[in-house]
């Protein structure tokens, strides 16, 4: 792969880890799996192998969540990852696919415009007109190919897909068959095929899964990070790896800076200060960990390109306001109130208070 790629696929970025895990993995592997379920769990949660290879944690949180997810895929049941935006659903799904199939690129992005064709197959219309329906005229989609060669297929934002299109999945998931009525034939899924879907719990009720489809999935809810320490750790590792990838000229932010941003996000999200002493109004946005990460990288790039390379409160403030103020009528009031009642009073937060006050 050449170096100009902005973001590497998980299986390439972590190729060394996957190879090391595979070399040490002596446990039984389900058919077509690159690693055993134990090794997949270790790959996601991190650890140290017998030879000293350090596996970086991809998911920080409850071990049981990842265990249920991996066990689900091992039983050939489809997996549905559910959570509010920014709880690492796509991230987990990508890494699961990379570790299990060695390929995270079989991806269908769900949108309101996703059609049945993108879930099944398409036609090369020139050939279709010239020769009529035939195997050559068939253009297989990601699902089609995954069924053929026994790999994982990912569906992002399943609940954005219109309900009538979603139900195409039922046959594929329960009978493991993709019928091609035009050729009166079908594709039967080979061993190793499975589906990981992600869905946003904020979208509940938009395109609710039909209960028939719901039944084909085991659902795993990815929660928001439970403790401040966990969340700071997530932001720190992600900002570190991203600033390396983006070649930002600024030095990585101090832990204290990350802690401040994460604290503000957590407090606004939960509606109470971390010490539980004061009530805080919540703005309309989700304020996920992913947004905290982007505030940090945004600040770093500001500091690197326009500042002296050191991250200051001013660099953070604009990104933070952008993340928090989503609704121009209400959110500024909420954030101002929070600034005046909470941020202003905190020791050593004066710079942040002034920076935000100037920009809002």
């Amino acid at each position: 792969m050449n170096a100009t790629v902005l973001r590497q696929h998980a299986e390439i970025a972590h190729a060394a880890e996957l190879a090391a895990l595979s070399a040490h993995d002596d446990r039984p592997r389900p058919p077509k799996w690159k690693l055993s379920p134990w090794a997949v769990t270790d790959y996601l949660l991190g650890g140290t192998l017998a030879d000293g290879t350090v596996i970086s944690p991809k998911y920080v949180g409850d071990r049981r969540i990842i265990e249920v997810a991996v066990a689900t895929l091992a039983t050939d049941r489809a997996l549905l990852l559910l959570g509010v935006p920014g709880t690492a659903k796509s991230w987990v799904s990508e890494h699961l696919a990379a570790a299990i199939s060695g390929d995270s690129t079989r991806l269908i992005q769900g949108t309101a415009g996703t059609s049945e064709e993108s879930l099944r197959y398409n036609w090369n219309y020139a050939m279709l007109l010239a020769k009529g329906p035939s195997e050559e005229a068939l253009v297989p989609g990601p699902m089609f190919r995954s069924m053929q060669d026994g790999r994982l297929c990912r569906i992002e934002e399943l609940t954005r897909i219109p309900s009538e299109v979603q139900d195409t999945l039922i046959t594929m998931l329960s009978e493991k068959v993709l019928p091609i009525p035009e050729l009166s034939t079908e594709i039967q899924a080979t061993e190793g095929f499975n589906v990981i879907a992600t869905a946003n719990s904020r979208d509940r009720g938009v395109n609710e899964l039909s209960s028939a489809l719901q039944r084909r999935f085991n659902t795993v809810v990815l929660p928001l990070p439970s403790s401040l320490e966990d969340e700071v750790e997530i932001v720190r590792t992600r900002v570190g790896s991203m600033s390396k990838a983006l070649a930002l000229p600024a030095e990585p932010p101090a832990l204290e800076e990350i802690r401040r941003v994460v604290t503000i996000f957590r407090e606004l999200r939960s509606g109470a200060t971390e010490d539980g002493k004061a009530k805080v109004k919540s703005p309309s946005g989700t304020l996920s960990t992913a947004e905290a990460i982007s505030v940090m990288t945004n600040g770093l790039s500001l500091a690197g390109h326009f500042g002296d390379g050191k991250l200051t409160a001013h660099d953070l403030a604009s990104g933070m306001i952008g993340a928090i103020v989503k609704d121009p009528s209400q959110d500024p009031v909420v954030f101002k109130e929070y600034l005046e009642t909470v941020v202003k009073e905190r020791d050593g937060w004066k710079d942040l208070y002034r920076a935000c006050k100037d920009q809002i």
Binding site: V68, A71, R77, N218
Partner: protein
């Protein structure tokens, strides 16, 4: 030869392994970790009608509230050991420190700080989050039991020597007693001895200690007199959450593991699915299949031979609940804990009071259950009345099986009780048995005794009420005497006021055969004249809280006066009320109430009522006082204003006379008064105001068809027991 079987008190895996081990060893005596003075009671465990969960209750004879429980479930290893031994005819010995000593020691001993579960250490070493989980995995849910107990002994020996934590004196004494008893059993000539005790104590038993050292330690222990009995127990009381020290998290799961030997997970998940369906959640058989598969896969992933409770719950959450943990709550009480309650066989030695309670429960068909059960009683029926009497008597005995709730319907012939039998009620029964051997005598004795030891008008009246509702005539008579004595010395008028309604009830509805109605009426007269004398002073210069209380008490008193129907007293009472209505020192709320009572009794004309109303609500009166007055006047609902157009007219006129500023001033206060009325009442008042408040001045003479009405009137008269109309 002595073989040690270290167990945890409630664990199906332990119980199963223990049974297999006993079968293989076939000992000629089984020694149990139970107080030695409980030994005689264990024979009852052989009874097939004894259905666990049950508990052995040991209590001091003098102070039954000092008690210890030793609960057994079907899956408790001790229970299985006892049953095994009794079935095989093998003698059972108990070798723990006798409760007689333990109770006496406990009075002097310093309470020890609770120690963290020692098995946490094993859990940590083995990569588990907590000891409970570790024990579950490694011990309870394993399938082979080879060298099981040897391994436990070795592990706990290592743990105790490594930790070397100081043991409490009680613990040391107990272990010394165990060794001492064990030596005695060996001396008796038994050759194969099986010792079943908590895993923690096993190293202390295999340790070599000189018998003289133990004897020195155990010399001169204090002693108390102790009695033992069996009581039914519940699964809920076996949990940690109930505060039971050796508790477990999920008795329901353990019970399931014990009773379902084959494919435990499939039946477990099917039961969960059925419960979800009952709660209206989707849970198809296909989902059960998927949940079983997921839990198996999870167990495989975690390197466990079989899925356990955690795997099952995670599978349920993921498959049945779409990842949402909330619906798991449905399973909590019914599946995870279980609502089972134990049963005892007939003819077990019990205290007479307990027997009486049980036979009464059977006779009245009131079955004690661990769940919360509402019971509606119709007091017009024989059965309903008998049950009500029984429940009131139990309340008088402080056996709080149930509590009375306000009946939903109007009328006094219905009672609603909410019953829940709790095992600790057994202690209350033992406590109460000091007062007598039947529910009736004990309840009567207890009420009278309590009233003597804690005199005071309010308390006596309360007990009098219970004795009346519990149909305890002797107690009623005795309490009446005490009430009379107490009233003579009482200075608090509110107490006096509170006792009159109860007395009036006795006079009106009391059991005429046993209660001397004449003396009660005399008592009421004395009380009422005392009230009449002191009421004016009592209502003067009081704060809002006291006024609220007093106005209610005065209302109750007024209805009591109607009940006893004594013209002279009533006239006197009305005169006092009249003076209260005029006196400016009386709290306005009580004043308002007094005017209303007078009006309702017909002692105050409409014009005078209007004058009082106008006066109280006049601009010179502080707005606050005006609103208080109105609140007192309209207390108890707005139906008066709905039906009495004249009164509504008065309030309406006053409202109309208010200046805009004045109206604004009283609006919040009026809102408080009218806000207390029910919505239909308010709607109807508003409708009446809209349609005009002037009462129909003269009623049209009714044009009745008398011959046609006569049969109906006659029927009503018969129903009411009135003379036949002509």
């Amino acid at each position: 030869m002595t073989t040690l079987f270290g167990i945890r008190h409630h664990g199906p895996g332990c119980a199963r392994s223990l049974l297999a081990a006993l079968e293989a060893l076939s000992p000629d005596v089984v020694v149990l970790e139970m107080p030695q003075d409980a030994e005689a009671m264990l024979i009852h465990a052989a009874d097939a009608d004894m259905k666990p969960p049950v508990a052995l209750l040991m209590h001091e004879v003098e102070r039954p509230e000092r008690a210890s429980f030793y609960p057994f479930a079907a899956f408790s290893p001790e229970w299985q050991a006892v049953r095994w031994a009794l079935a095989k005819g093998v003698p059972v010995r108990c070798f723990d420190l006798p409760a007689a000593h333990a109770f006496a020691l406990r009075q002097t001993a310093e309470p020890m700080a609770p120690r963290p579960d020692a098995f946490e250490w094993f859990a940590r070493a083995d990569g588990y989050s907590d000891g409970e989980r570790w024990w579950n995995d490694r011990v309870e849910e394993r399938s082979n039991d080879q060298d099981f107990f040897a391994a436990i002994l070795e592990a706990v020996t290592a743990l105790r020597s490594e930790l070397a934590e100081p043991e409490s004196r009680e613990s040391l004494l107990r272990e010394a007693w165990m060794r001492k008893t064990l030596r005695a059993v060996e001396k008796e000539g038994f050759t194969t001895i099986a010792v079943v005790c908590g895993a923690w104590h096993t190293p202390a038993l295999s340790m070599k200690v000189k018998s003289s050292d133990d004897a020195a330690l155990l010399k001169g222990l204090p002693k108390e007199k102790v009695a033992a009995t069996w009581i039914p127990w519940t699964f809920e009381r076996l949990t940690f959450a109930s505060g039971y020290g050796a508790g477990i998290t999920s008795p329901g799961w353990y019970d399931h593991l014990w009773s379902c030997r084959g494919d435990a997970m499939t039946t477990w998940l099917t039961r969960a699915a059925r419960l979800f369906r009952k709660e209206g959640q989707d849970a198809s058989s296909a989902s059960v299949i998927e949940a079983v598969r997921l839990s198996n896969a999870l167990a495989g992933l975690r390197g466990r031979p079989q899925p356990g409770l955690n795997e099952s719950l995670e599978a349920i959450q993921s498959v049945f609940c779409q990842g949402d943990p909330l619906p798991l709550q449905f399973l909590n009480s019914k599946l995870l804990i279980g609502e089972r309650m134990g049963e005892l066989p007939e003819g077990l030695p019990k205290m007479p009071l307990q027997q009486d309670i049980e036979s009464t429960q059977r006779r009245l068909r009131l079955k004690p259950a661990a769940s919360v059960t509402p019971v509606d009683l119709d007091l017009r029926e024989e059965g309903g009345r008998a049950r009500s009497v029984f429940l009131h008597r139990l309340t008088a005995l402080a056996v709080t099986w149930g509590h009375k709730e306000r009946a939903r319907t109007r009328g006094t012939f219905k009672e609603r009780w909410v019953l829940q039998w709790k095992p600790e009620l057994a202690v209350s029964i033992i406590d109460a048995s000091a007062f007598g051997n039947t529910v009736e005598t004990a309840a009567a004795r207890r009420l009278v005794t309590l009233a003597t030891t804690a005199p005071g008008l309010g308390g006596i009246t309360e007990k009098l009420d219970l004795s009346l509702l519990g149909e305890l005539p002797e107690a009623t008579a005795a309490l009446l005497l005490q009430l009379e004595a107490a009233a003579a010395t009482s200075v608090d008028l509110t107490d006096l006021l509170a006792s009159v309604p109860t007395l009036a009830r006795i006079a009106r509805y009391g059991d005429v055969r046993a209660t001397d109605v004449e003396s009660v009426t005399d008592l009421i007269r004395a009380f009422a004249s005392r009230v009449n004398a002191g009421l004016l002073v009592a209502a003067s210069g009081i704060d809002d809280m006291a006024a609220e209380h007093l106005s209610k008490a005065v209302s109750d008193h007024a209805s009591a006066m109607i009940l006893i129907d004594d013209r002279e007293l009533a006239a006197e009472f009305h005169a006092v009320l009249g003076r209260m209505a005029e006196a400016s020192s009386v709290h306005p709320k009580v004043q308002g109430r007094a005017v209303r009572l007078l009006r309702d009794a017909g002692a105050l004309g409409d014009d005078l009522t209007a004058r009082h109303l106008g006066f109280a609500l006049s601009p010179g009166m502080p707005a606050r006082a005006g609103a208080d007055w109105l609140e007192g006047f309209l207390q108890g609902g707005g139906s008066l204003l709905v039906h009495d157009r004249l009164l509504l007219g008065l309030v309406d006129d006053w409202l109309k006379s208010l200046s805009p500023d004045g109206f604004q001033l009283v609006l919040p206060l009026l809102r408080r008064t009218f806000g207390g009325f029910s919505v239909p009442e308010r709607t109807r008042i508003a409708a009446n105001v809209a349609s005009g408040t002037q009462a129909v001045a003269t009623r049209q003479p009714m044009n009745l068809d008398l011959p046609r009405a006569l049969p109906a009137v006659a029927a009503v008269a018969r129903l009411l027991g009135l003379p036949e109309p002509s």
